[in-house]
């Protein structure tokens, strides 16, 4: 078997099953169970070599060309500013990035606060969003369970992803404003795009044909 033509980075976790299902619809199947502990998995036809990494790392692997292509959430792409091509919105991993607040203080205006304290996994996006509106923010960077922060008095608000809104509701939080829609993108290394143009444009076509409406 010849060397797989493309290396492909996938996000561990929430997005993985959806990405695998989409790839399968496009006729690309992994040779072994994606939820096994293996880190590198070939596809059944020897065209791809998949590796499964933390979602925030996908843009990095692709930007540096260690992976030729990848599937990454728009949230991590916005946060990382990775310099990669993004030819397709895959319409999977759909959710929203929002500002949320405890119900009790949801009505409070930003103008009353000298600086809003916000807990988030997305410090860059959050800073940009608020400073563009002239609102000074103090960012509390967290890497998980962000909903806890306002409950424990660590922050006034949070910026996080919301799919169904259940986690927020369960923690007594509500959305006060949406920041943007999030979905997963196909990302491609700039040099790979040029050097492996044929295999990459084939992949783009295969995937474009199966993107959910």
């Amino acid at each position: 078997m010849s060397k797989p033509s493309l290396t492909f980075a996938l996000s561990k976790g929430r997005l993985l099953d959806e990405a695998a299902a989409l790839l399968k619809k496009a006729g690309i199947e992994m040779a072994s169970d994606i939820n096994s502990r293996k880190l590198v998995i070939p596809d059944t036809q020897g065209r791809f070599s998949f590796f499964i990494v933390k979602p925030v790392d996908v843009p990095t692997y692709v930007e540096y060309g260690v992976a030729d292509v990848g599937i990454a959430g728009r949230d991590v792409l916005l946060e990382s500013h990775a310099d990669v091509h993004q030819p397709l919105d895959l319409r999977i991993g759909l959710c929203k990035m929002v500002v949320a607040s405890p119900k009790a203080t949801a009505k409070r205006n930003y103008k009353d606060l000298s600086a809003v304290r916000i807990a988030t996994k997305y410090p860059h996006v959050t800073t940009e969003y608020f400073t563009r509106r002239g609102v000074p923010v103090e960012i509390i960077p967290l890497s998980g369970s962000v909903e806890l922060a306002p409950l424990l008095g660590l922050s006034d608000r949070i910026v996080d992803l919301v799919a169904t809104g259940r986690t927020l509701a369960e923690n007594g939080l509500e959305v006060i404003e949406p920041i943007c829609d999030i979905s997963a993108r196909l990302v491609i290394n700039r040099a790979s795009y040029q050097i492996k143009r044929k295999s990459i444009s084939d992949l783009i076509q295969l995937l474009a044909a199966v993107i959910p409406a």
């Binding site: 930007e63 540096y64 060309g65 260690v66 091509h85 993004q86 040029q194 050097i195 143009r197």
Partner: protein
């Protein structure tokens, strides 16, 4: 107080094998430059801020290391060499026979997040051909780049060759605001066809224009792309650009170097000073381009001296990261 052993982000030290390798690459490339009659020019590491900002574009301007001297003048550390070479030619070498062939090697400084093998201080080696006849000097600098890579033992590489005038001709007659144009460029650069379509719908672009811009995203391939590009548009400027590109491609073909060339009309990014042919060099196995260049016919005018010019540079860090 910070300890004296701490290093500022974006700097590094080379020693041992790495230092040897760096010097070896410099010598090898300079030996090729010299064989083509390029003479070294050693410009200063800082100059007036305005020298660098004329025509460079906002993207790079934001990365300048600026400082103020005791008279209150704004100075900057060099973020690239071309502006300095252009200034030196205009002020000191204007009356010398053309084309002037100049080459350089040294550090440049940009205040940006270190990535892609580059620190905030990184090294460029390159050349400028000033006052030469259009197609022939374009071909010459590309041939020098190819020979340099071969001499370094790099056998596989791809040069993506485009013409900035093609895209310029397409958007010239559309009444875009600066922001809209930059949004369109970003989407073309991301290769995001769907996003591009919806943005153009929002801007009420005619179906014909949408078709042209969407097709542009995929205008990459062998020499036949030039013909495809020609059928797509009718404006004078784009056609002129394609004629230039075709002549250049034919010239490279005559030197049997077309195997390395990919015609790429989808490239819309780059320094604002480029006016004609542009190219980027890729090597299999490296996720970033290792060098690039292009024609900049208006830059010398800024310094009061009207000569056409073309040049390119390699990133030494990226050349070093390739296995020899």
């Amino acid at each position: 107080m910070k300890t004296l052993t701490q290093i500022p982000l974006g700097t590094r030290v080379l020693f041992g094998e790495a230092a040897k390798k760096r010097r070896r690459i410099e010598r090898t490339i300079f030996s090729v430059f010299e064989a083509w009659s390029y003479q070294e020019i050693i410009p200063p590491i800082f100059d007036y801020y305005d020298v660098f900002t004329k025509g460079m574009g906002m993207e790079l301007e934001d990365t300048l290391y600026r400082f103020i001297d005791r008279e209150g003048n704004i100075l900057a550390l060099r973020p690239e060499f071309t502006s300095l070479v252009a200034k030196s030619v205009a002020t000191r070498l204007a009356d010398q026979p053309k084309p002037l062939r100049l080459c350089y090697c040294g550090e440049v400084l940009r205040y940006e997040t270190p990535r892609g093998g580059r620190q905030r201080e990184f090294f460029q080696i390159g050349l400028e051909n000033i006052g030469g006849e259009n197609v022939r000097s374009d071909a010459e600098v590309i041939l020098v780049a190819i020979e340099s890579l071969k001499k370094l033992g790099i056998r596989k590489f791809q040069i993506n060759l485009g013409e900035i005038g093609y895209f310029a001709g397409i958007v010239e007659r559309i009444d875009f605001s600066r922001e809209d144009l930059s949004k369109i460029k970003t989407l073309i650069d991301l290769k995001d066809v769907v996003g591009l379509k919806s943005e153009m719908d929002r801007l009420n672009l005619s179906e014909r224009r949408q078709h042209i811009i969407l097709s542009l995203v995929h205008l990459t391939g062998d020499g036949s792309v030039i013909q495809t590009g020609r059928h797509l548009v009718s404006n004078e400027k784009s056609h002129q650009a394609l004629n230039n590109l075709e002549n250049l491609y034919e010239e490279l073909k005559r030197h049997k170097m077309d195997e390395f060339i990919t015609i790429d009309l989808s490239e819309v990014r780059g320094l604002d000073y480029y006016t004609g042919s542009i190219f980027k060099i890729y090597v299999p196995g490296l996720g970033f381009e290792i060098g690039g260049g292009g024609r900049y016919d208006n830059l010398l005018k800024n310094f009061g001296c009207d000569f056409p010019a073309v040049g390119f540079s390699f990133s030494l860090e990226r050349l070093m990261s390739l296995e020899s």
